[in-house]
Symmetry: C2
Subunit: 491 residues, 2 copies
Amino acid sequence: MAKLTSREEDYSKWYNELVVKADLAENSGVRGCMVIKPYGYAIWEKMQAQLDKMFKETGHQNAYFPLFVPKHMFEAEETNAEGFAKECAVVTHYRLKSNPDEPGKLMVDPDAKLEEELVVRPTSEAIIWSTYRNWIQSYRDLPILINQWANVVRWEMRTRLFLRTAEFLWQEGHTAHATKQEAIDETVQMVNVYADFAENYMKMPVVKGVKSESERFAGAEDTYCIEALMQDGKALQAGTSHFLGQNFAKAFDVKYATSEGTQEYVWATSWGVSTRLMGALIMTHSDDKGLVLPSTLAPIQVVIVPIYFNDEQKALVDEKSEAIVKSLKEKGISVKYDNDDKQKPGWKFAEYELKGVPVRIGVGPRDLEKGQVEVARRDNLTKEFVSLESLEEAIPALLSEIDANIYNKAKSYRDSHITEVNDWDEFQKLLEEKGGFLSAHWDGTMETEAKIQELTKATIRCIPLDAKQEEGKCVYTGKPSTQRVLFAKAY
Amino acid sequence: MAKLTSREEDYSKWYNELVVKADLAENSGVRGCMVIKPYGYAIWEKMQAQLDKMFKETGHQNAYFPLFVPKHMFEAEETNAEGFAKECAVVTHYRLKSNPDEPGKLMVDPDAKLEEELVVRPTSEAIIWSTYRNWIQSYRDLPILINQWANVVRWEMRTRLFLRTAEFLWQEGHTAHATKQEAIDETVQMVNVYADFAENYMKMPVVKGVKSESERFAGAEDTYCIEALMQDGKALQAGTSHFLGQNFAKAFDVKYATSEGTQEYVWATSWGVSTRLMGALIMTHSDDKGLVLPSTLAPIQVVIVPIYFNDEQKALVDEKSEAIVKSLKEKGISVKYDNDDKQKPGWKFAEYELKGVPVRIGVGPRDLEKGQVEVARRDNLTKEFVSLESLEEAIPALLSEIDANIYNKAKSYRDSHITEVNDWDEFQKLLEEKGGFLSAHWDGTMETEAKIQELTKATIRCIPLDAKQEEGKCVYTGKPSTQRVLFAKAY
């Protein structure tokens, strides 16, 4: 197995190689679309299961809405339509026919042109609010708290596995409320759910904040987000939760009768995370040997590699290994016993390092004689001997320790890369030399934001929710400002 | 709540009304596409969870492949392409732009025409086998056992909720094998998994069989299926498993090196079930009062409806009901306590009958004085009093009894509607007057099959796997035949 390009040598190349070599995903024969391979999909399934549980615990139900959005529906909310029209896949025909000029080939049948074009959903506000219109008559029908797991398509020109693909998988919550405050509360609740998931399951520290106007979702009044920091000092938006005001209710004429009998427009939110989280997970923890996964999302938490040189040893090692498998499974740990004898132990060690399995147990005859096995941690690549009797207790504790360690490591990197800066030269210098989040004052105008981006490629990632009020001067224009915002170059 | 049309009056109308009134699904604003509502989706999620478990237990892993199939890939396997070209959604453009003639409206941007059209997947053999080509070099790479949960689109002209929709949700297994026998074994294994799921989780009896050539999947060498019988005497194909031979391997040039070093084409299978199963479930068990669900797939297995006339009674009823909820939840039963005081008990009774909740417990002060509650079964609409002490034991037993009862009821209906017939006049008469499966001899030709369909609308549903060899004469042509096949009108 050829070694990975190191992060230092070429971070971007390291990422691309890692995704492919660890069997997570690959580019497909369809421009911009990826194939998510079984090992990558198994991680995504674990993410889905946990998020789905958290959505249900906060009162949401799943449903499914159509893939296609008829053009008249798509264009109803103008800001939203404008935001997505430039990069959408459009279905115009419903049949192919034999091509008379090329035997065996097909062509679009011009007689099968749709009366109205269908947009492949880039997001589902339009189709869902056209449906909610029929579901909502009175305040008794509210709130509606629905989530959908689906594929969406955005015709991105420059794509990268997981981070930006033409088709991606996501969940999108779409809720309807009687009052503005209730909708805002929902928006905030869901950004908190995302932060909880990122920190406690992905072991990835995030900053919760609000987007500036120019970074807002098309059609939203406010976009809340969680922002993470990758190991190359670039930020990554990991989830967003939008307060949509009454924009979609007005576009689709969705009103409800209040308990007093008046008619009011309904208030809306939407929120989503996608397979992009896979990219965030990979880039937050992994190293030059491969993936590093938290036990909370690892498809295999523990792998057992047997070591033997003859049949007698094999019998003993098999017996002991299978006993370990059994005892760990009873503890709810997912264990793989890799007794494939076509590969050598050394090859397996490298393979499971590449795949990010948190703990590897080596079981060999000499250690067994001493009543012990060798336990290797993926996170810091250390090994220790653990007695067979204490293994059942030691492994769950070790998994927790690994999870805590990779979170703390990512957090200390992230924390050391949030730099307060008050001077424009320093701002540019830090961005080039160190990267990370620059916490700076900003005069609040879109013009300044655009100018800074033009000069440095840094964007405002968010106005942190916990930003304190503080008198200051815009780092670029020197105009007055009352709070710091976070700038960074971003994925 | 207006009553449902009865099955006898108009079976088709009964079905359509039931799907909508029980909040399972509804037609959307997109031609032929449905919205699956939360209650319907919750049933589908239970189906998915069980099937997914069964796929994993038989060694399969999930993955995800692109939604789009480029035209050149789509047309590579000619039989398959021909089968699906007539009814596929085609993406031709990747952008909309402002329509200069109609302010606020959009139009397809003629400058954003794709170089090659993309077909929205009607099934994924083409895209998957174009991918497997890169995954398979030697016998060591085989078998590949992959499943995908996805949406697919087939441009059906006449659609019905769940039974036939332009977009539907399904799973599609796609496996690759070194030998013909191994692929056939996989095909048979998966039709057995489907039959197991249908009978033990949907409580729906099915016939396992093989399709005749004209009913085969486009591109398959053999199509295995499970066929169920609905209450109106029409059959419904509930799942299919295809032995694809080397057709896709040849179309996409997928060869492997054998252990002897020769190059061979790979053998393939594919198999799928879809949201159509929802239609099958509904039509197999439900009655004129609404849905009837087995406890194995019911989102709510037990509902508790409190009955009280004053606050003092309410306090007592609440306390006892909550104790019941707790004790049943501890048994792993999903219970809903419906203490919404905006609706009367009578309304709730009708509502949960409509929704098919298997068991309803009425908790009222007079019964509580006697230490009992009223337990109503949805399947046969009977009620009995059960003492509070025995409830915790009685409810799980009752759920099993209900499941057994609805299975047996469906099976006795189905069994009494498989009729051996040897005479053409009788064949036609039975089909009109009784419906169901007609077990008859057939001369094995596509011509006879087509003629019978033309005259009666009946098709060969399958050649049952357990069909015994028996000398006979074709029911239509009188030519010799060696086994009976099942004919029926079908959904």
